[in-house]
Subunit: 361 residues, 2 copies
Amino acid sequence: MITDLPPIDHARRVAAMCGGASGTTLYTDLADMRWLTGFVGSNGWAVVRHDELIVGTDGRYGEKACEDTAGSGATVIVEHQAVALHERLVQVLGTGAVGLDSSSVSHAVWERLANAVHLVHQPSPVSVLRRTKDEAEVARIEAAAACADSALAVVEPQLCGMTEADVRMELEYQLRLHGADDRSYDTIVAAGPDHGARPHHAASGRTIIEGDTVTIDVGALVDGYHSDMTRSWVMGEATEHQREIYELVSVAQQAGLDTITPGVAARDVDASCRQVFVDAGYGDWFIHGTGHGVGLDIHESPYHSASSAEIILEGYVVTVEPGLYRGGFGGFRIEDLVLVTKPVNGTGHRVLTHSPKRELN
Amino acid sequence: MITDLPPIDHARRVAAMCGGASGTTLYTDLADMRWLTGFVGSNGWAVVRHDELIVGTDGRYGEKACEDTAGSGATVIVEHQAVALHERLVQVLGTGAVGLDSSSVSHAVWERLANAVHLVHQPSPVSVLRRTKDEAEVARIEAAAACADSALAVVEPQLCGMTEADVRMELEYQLRLHGADDRSYDTIVAAGPDHGARPHHAASGRTIIEGDTVTIDVGALVDGYHSDMTRSWVMGEATEHQREIYELVSVAQQAGLDTITPGVAARDVDASCRQVFVDAGYGDWFIHGTGHGVGLDIHESPYHSASSAEIILEGYVVTVEPGLYRGGFGGFRIEDLVLVTKPVNGTGHRVLTHSPKRELN
């Protein structure tokens, strides 16, 4: 495990939230709750009201919640029965308006709470702040990216002849041997003309053979923070068509990276990659968005898509991941994770993923 | 990977659902969708209307959705843009009433859909059917349980001197070496007086030493189906108090298992374990429920708790997992996974988890 990470200053975050809070805000998103309070668990809520922070959870997490939230100054409520925990929440929320992000609870939970308190939809203030990473967060994401680089360096030379599932197993084992707490997400290993054509293929018992396109999408988790990276190869000598497609993905990915600087529109990141493919006549081989924010969640705002209205700002950590896919051919994706920085000589980002992008044989 | 599993008959499930369907039902829960259609992905929906089954997903899963749902006879809709997929869903749902389980979508998604179609809350019919496992499902759960038994047998003799995190890493690696697709959930390794007192402790860098209570909660995933099992030990020679508490957990767990037969109330399973602890004066050391259903979800209905109104029926697969925990002492939990069967000589279950429950030294 990686132990020399700078501490996260939850007290500062809480002070910023409480200072600006005019009413009562309820958080039920687990990543929002972790960011604000430090509490890590699968069930709970946080309430910010005036200068108070209150965290509620169930008996499985009572001891842990007290320890996790020590730095945030939260008051912790523990109830072993779900009904009792709900009643305590209603009591804490009181009679005034309560802001809650309607995307962070099920409709059933919203309805039940709305019967007892005055709920108002409010986009989560924490989820907006979470987009901008501080130094302690960047250190964790960078450490996670380094674990994935190291794991891939061990496994990459042995790909041909392994099954997709064995590659995944070895990669995820290596992530931890190199200090990661866990994988960032279910590692994608997609080989050959059928599986390679699926951006989110689940690794199978298929053996990787000469001539296959191979795409590996692998990230690590360090103290709650994710990394995200994809590399692609051809096993053995590439065909002309494989070279052409790989080169297009490579050019598009560089074009995307070149756009990343504070102030750029997320849709322009997407457009810069997409245009390369459209110009070459392969626009319909690009069947997903160009990237997303990464932090306590593997997918978080902003999203680089044609319909996005978001602007990329300094301190954001985002992916740039164009790819081309076609059944019968396979596919390639190249993805880097970048920190958006103050611009120097016109470019405003630092790449956090360092695995080499191989030239095809 | 485990390859000789009996096939799952999605066509039969679809026929049963469509035959009984008087209106239109929308499914957004991913496990419901998988159970009914065979589609495995992180985004999508299924609609059952009259004799039709329609599955919608995004571009990442287009090829996969067609292959996965071949056995169910679903019509597959693929849209690369989220907005377009939403519009197709609205079109498919039409103007009549649409049943949707309000616990399976966020309030934001519900509101957006409700603006376009006539949504009515309806507890998911599929989630009720999913409680009763067929032979193909039991085969998967049993295979998963066997993987966890094998993995634990390899790692258990080496616990003392390892860190919690290394035990987790080796267990999860061994799960796959023994054929599992993955872990069933983040493996819990909780050692010593502080961590052992937390039922859902996340494995840390703490080294396991003589005198520690150690609790390991480990399961495997096979073709989407989970297993779930917990064992506890004392490292080296146990103290009198440790023996007393372990014996109580052991007796309570057997008492719980003894209740499992078709027709028993879930709350009586809970009460049978809880009473053992209350009688011994340790009622407040038992800080969670006694068990839950297991299948495509690691936690699914029914839940064994004091407030449950559910009845256990033949074909259910459920856990029985009482435990005692206290800061400064540590804790023990013993958990088995059982299939509810026709009663023979008064007992109506078959235990699927076979790792030995050690006597303390």
